[in-house]
Symmetry: C2
Subunit: 335 residues, 2 copies
Amino acid sequence: MEGVNHQIILAARPAGMPKESDFELIESPMPRLRPGEVLVRTLYLSVDPYMRGRMRQNGSYARAVELGEVMVGGIVGQVVESNDPRLECSDVVEGMLGWQEYAAAPTKTLRRINASTAPISTSLYVLGMPGLTAYFGLLDICRPQPGETVVVSGAAGAVGSIVGQIAKIKRCRAIGIAGTDEKIQFITEELGFDSGFNYKSVQDYHAKLKELCPTGIDVYFDNVGGQVTDAVMAQINTRARIAVCGQISHYNSDSIDSGPRCFSQLLTKQAKAEGFLVFQYADRYEEGLRQLSTWLREGRLKYREDIMEGLENAPKAFIRMLQGKNIGKQLVKVG
Amino acid sequence: MEGVNHQIILAARPAGMPKESDFELIESPMPRLRPGEVLVRTLYLSVDPYMRGRMRQNGSYARAVELGEVMVGGIVGQVVESNDPRLECSDVVEGMLGWQEYAAAPTKTLRRINASTAPISTSLYVLGMPGLTAYFGLLDICRPQPGETVVVSGAAGAVGSIVGQIAKIKRCRAIGIAGTDEKIQFITEELGFDSGFNYKSVQDYHAKLKELCPTGIDVYFDNVGGQVTDAVMAQINTRARIAVCGQISHYNSDSIDSGPRCFSQLLTKQAKAEGFLVFQYADRYEEGLRQLSTWLREGRLKYREDIMEGLENAPKAFIRMLQGKNIGKQLVKVG
């Protein structure tokens, strides 16, 4: 295809909270297709907490984005040119194609989306990585049982909002922790969490958790870390399970993250804390997506998207998400 | 039976490291047997780190020993009077009968020991709780694979000394951390650990671990906690498994145990840390003891006992163990 492409590259490694100047919007030639590849035009791109780790010199669990390289990330888009019989023009696909208008990619790295089941943007949320992360982290690592108390931090975010709803489906009590009163209202009134609190206005996390979790905490799904997590850990029950999914409170810091060591508590409670990445479950994505689709169709999973328009605003949307200003999934509409 | 009994009771709740004056040796009437009970004369009693937790007002994972109550603990002894057809006089049994010369106990709370297989004191060590703790903690929680690097803290103690040897049986590299050069010599020269270091003389734990574990740490069996554990955690590999068995570095402290929070590391490495108690595996003790006996008979498990004589010296032996002065299993010979 002729024409120019637009891309957002990493221009500088941020110190602390990223700034818009850490990114740069550039023009580049339209990618050329090799055999087996398709050209995808981005419709929505996803901004997620993990991207902050990829901006570091040494990356985190995956390799770093290099300076000058297109920012990493998942997108959903439309095939506009195909060199592979398995995909046709106008097919909708999801893949890790980065912050750009157009990308060439081998078919095998893409997931074809059935645009008739649900809005295609959900393939970056409930029916995509965040949904799968919630599904496997909660069900596989934490194995919640009916009647148990499940606490979720980052509860109004992409992953947390699904975790609490799955906990409810599994007949648990779901308690969410988030950073504004509006988010708490959202998770309790719209999503059906039993309760929650705003960690920015509540002074005494311990007292609040005692009030909201009178029988203690059986499962903790942690997106946040820091003092919120310290307080939760102090109130876990015997044989509690903790899924460590994110530690966003520390992503913008270069200092050592110090606080109470948790091993004594793990020992006293014979509890388990496990870090995970959704990619560990790649061979079970189909199972997860099938179940999430069913719940979505049945109206048992609700969601809210927080959409910003224009590729050029991706850095702004990303920073906004890191600052906790989004409610529900932060997306950028590019198409 | 006529005569008097001798018991050691908890006289005061210790602040920090226990002192001999926190205990008191008393005379008491010989226990009277009820139906189904036997009278056991203690031959050896075990002193173990977990007892420190039981001396606290609020206990730890189990209820506290009350002031004036006999100190808790495992013993091996001989039946001297029986009100139950399942046990005869001179049978050897192991049970949680506490720091005393004689105790009455229902048969079902005792484990009969075959004195012809191994010295009876091993039922408090290799063929008892410490052995089972090592066995289930390492094999069930950590699932070590051939070629992996297993690090053990408290490596010359009752549990640690077995953990490293089972790691070797499972064809892993076993690295031990202990508090004297003599202990390191013991675990490497007598027990067959690949290597180890004295955390009291080594300055830079990180550099030392890098040197001894050039391919990183796959499994960590933690008896100690604190800065040793911080250093190990900084060098775990992806999908590392950590069994939290003890945190002896903090047992004598009432302050908050602060240090680097480990959740970021668990996340980055998709690692698991799990606290456990051997009692969780009660329904598998038979399996564990059978395997440990086989290894012992085959000469694949070696052990050393550190024996102090006389019930009156139990507090001294206990304090000695908490101070890390024992090499191998600290026992008190009472009979």
